[in-house]
Amino acid sequence: MASRLAQPKTVGTYGRRLLVVGYLFLLVIWPVALVVQKTFEGGLDNLQTALSDPVVTDALQLTVVVALWAVAINTVFGVGISLLLVRYDFPGRGTLSALIDLPLSVSPVVVGLALLLAYGGTNGTFGPALEGAGLQIAFATPGIVMATAFVSLPLVIREVVPVLQEIGTEQEQAAKSLGAGPWQTFWRITLPSIKWALVYGIVLSLARALGEFGAVKIVSGNVAQQTQTATLVVEQKYQDFEQGSAYATSFLLALIAVAALVVVTILRPKDDTDGD
């Protein structure tokens, strides 16, 4: 850090700084600020209208329930698979670690199509059998949860794996030699050391889960007050010329996502993020 600060500032330094700040201002800062401004144009009217509309509140409720399920599943799955990938040897480990990233490169629309082909009620491969057993996945909450879990799947793993590799196994082995069981070792040694990476991964998953649109649009059926999530309401309200409600709902979604991100950025100990 010291040598970084001692670096002389040239015209180039200021030029680059100006270019970067200007670019980010035009692409992100100003547009986001405008949405906030439009939300509060008539005071709190837009927010009040939106929050007294059962279509919006039901959608927000569904979004929160779905996001919590998806994040819970991804957290358990993510920590488990990270431990397996880093701590154990098994055939196909490299392939698995490459495949884990796949959901980041697949279009949300393709995710929706894929889930529909597998779990659609009439044409899906498993859909009819599952529905016969009383479990409807497509066009119901389980399908929305699956679509959301799909798109946010790698986020916890990508945060936790590097930290697990960094901390090594010495402390865990020490705990084991002192007689700690596997659960005790996990709760008292492993979990505290991956805590911040895990929290950051969970926050990213949460942001992604709250905001999923394309995959959910296909899998949910988009029925107001039943399977319509908050992002689908934003689209509908905007197209129905209820811009105020669209902006207010967008603002609420953006607020949760960005607030979570800011809180973690501030809380996270600084030396923990430097990588060493």
Partner: protein, 283 residues
């Protein structure tokens, strides 16, 4: 600073294997692996395989018909072209942003750190709305790109912003300044140092970021819904074509376009990998 951020390549799994002490599976970890694999297969692998199977189910005929449909061909062309342009810009601007975030220091730099993550955290439909507020019909700048090809470009530029920045940033932090100073003291110009010392070490990270950015670009949907108007032959992208096919009940055609998107993403990743190897060797 959030540098080991959302999108850093998870190639880390492979990188440090040598120094690791790993054990073979125990009974309980084997069970855990089994459950994890079953869930991963049911959620991701089997459904994606079904897309590929569906696309070749009717032989190559569906594929050919879908590809020669002028509307679909135009959508694919637009998607790939815009994603390529945006990725090229991200390679330059993303690296520059990462450079400023690591090497420069000024008040408000931490705010920029959060700003970089906003496009990733923001719901895509909201991203479209956000861009519409500055570059739409009521633009305070007087720039209205709504329903034009430029709206696709702008939306992709917004949603792919974090990828190159977040992959390059950690590598740049680790980079040894001594080597640059040594090069300078031996008489290398700043440009030579950049070309021979810095760029080769950053190349793999830039490549990884560019691949993610391109893959995200060709698959984007949500941010375009409100912004581009989805005009056939003009601003309609591949994802919208897939959705239209699904809504019309033509799942085979939808699967064909989806499979083509998957193949293009794969090809781009391989190509970028080759370029990166070439740059790293030449430096």
């Amino acid at each position: 600073m959030t540098v080991d951020a959302p999108l850093a390549p998870s190639g880390a799994v492979r990188r440090r294997r040598a120094g690791r002490s790993s054990t073979s599976l125990t009974r309980s970890s084997g069970l855990g692996l089994g459950i994890a694999l079953a869930w991963f297969s049911l959620l991701v692998l089997i459904p994606l395989c079904l897309v590929v199977i569906q696309s070749i189910d009717g032989g190559w005929e569906t594929f050919r018909q879908t590809l020669t449909n002028p509307q679909t061909a135009a959508a694919l062309r637009l998607t790939v072209t815009q994603a390529l342009i945006v990725t090229a810009i991200n390679i330059v601007m993303g690296t520059l942003i990462a450079w400023v975030l690591v090497r420069d220091s000024f008040p408000g730099k931490r705010v920029l750190e959060v700003v970089i993550d906003i496009p990733f955290a923001l719901p895509t439909i909201v991203a479209g709305l956000v861009l519409l507020s500055l570059y739409g019909p009521d633009s305070p700048l007087g720039v209205n790109v709504a329903n034009t090809e430029r709206s696709v470009f702008l939306a992709l530029l917004f949603v792919t912003l974090p990828f190159v920045v977040r992959t390059v940033q950690p590598v740049l932090m680790e980079l040894d300044r001594d080597v640059e100073e040594a090069a300078a003291s031996l008489g290398a110009s700043r440009f030579t140092t950049l070309r021979r010392i810095i760029l080769p070490s950053l190349a793999p990270a830039i490549t990884a970021g560019a691949a993610l950015s391109f893959a995200r670009g060709i698959s984007e949907y949500g941010s375009l819904v409100l912004l581009s108007g989805n005009l056939p032959l003009k601003t309609e992208v591949a994802s919208v074509r897939i959705l239209t096919y699904i809504e019309n009940g033509n799942e085979a055609a939808a699967a064909s376009v989806a499979t083509i998107l998957l193949l293009v993403a794969l090809a781009a990743i391989i190509l970028l990998q080759l370029i990166s190897t070439w740059v790293a060797r030449r430096g």
